[in-house]
Symmetry: C2
Subunit: 126 residues, 2 copies
DNA sequence: TTCTTAATGCAACTGAGTTGCAAATATAAG
DNA sequence: CTTATATTTGCAACTCAGTTGCATTAAGAA
């Protein structure tokens, strides 16, 4: 379905992704915007933003949902697929513009993949 | 810490992994054994089995925890790391003995990775 | 067999994510 | 600008995986 109306909720959520280059967990978003926006609204707007190819979601270390801006995706499909990196020290999550190829697997059809790399981020590594 | 005592709960859980070559979700295990074992016990025994390198855990499509037998791991560490495959049709999850190499990433230290490949399994593909 | 400590059951809780419905609001039509 | 309509929001209550504290049970060593 996707975004149909440019509401204040949509603007506020988009603003978060504008100012933040890393991925943001839903928990964090509820924490940041929870006083202004209802939790349910946050979940629903994110759903619509994802349907529209504006953000993409994935699961972090503990199964919590994270969102990050898309680059080059549209309502017709998410073409910007890539691995994500979660820092085990500070928890930060980033998108990696890295191409990890999944080999063909006999007798199975590969449709997609979720790759989460864990370690120390740029800030915690130095 | 790991397993110290060979209790009935441990035996029952091990039996499930003996007869099942694929991975098993905690939800499924609670479903199978919930009438004989308390849910809390199931979670705790699985924790200990994992500490001992007998099973390993990972997250499936929806953030639910899955467990599968280890091959060659011990209490000193999980050496048997590999990608997992979840069938989007039937939900089945398998371990893949496949080596997907994660490249070095500048300014970051890579410690581990979680790779979940999605598609159609052997049974659903044919 | 007894004793100690680990393991279990239970009940209540936590926290992410969802649902149904009434009220609010964006947008198109007049 | 005003009205009509369908989308969006807030709220409250719920679902469900996973956890916690504590009293009870049962391994297994002495």
């Amino acid at each position: 379905m996707g975004i149909i109306r440019k509401t204040q909720s949509v603007e506020m959520l988009l603003a978060e992704f504008q100012s933040d280059t890393s991925a943001i967990s839903v928990v964090e978003l509820v924490d940041r915007l929870g006083s202004k926006l209802n939790k349910t609204t946050i979940y629903r707007v994110l759903d619509r933003l994802e349907d529209d190819g504006i953000v993409h979601s994935f699961l972090g270390n503990n199964g919590i949902k994270w969102y990050a801006k898309c680059h080059g995706c549209s309502i017709s499909g998410h073409t910007d697929v890539h691995p994500h990196f979660q820092c085990l020290n500070c928890g930060r999550v980033d998108c990696l513009s890295l191409d990890i190829s999944i080999p063909k697997i006999p007798n199975r059809e590969v449709v997609g993949s979720q790759i989460l790399i864990q370690g120390k981020c740029e800030a915690c590594f130095g």
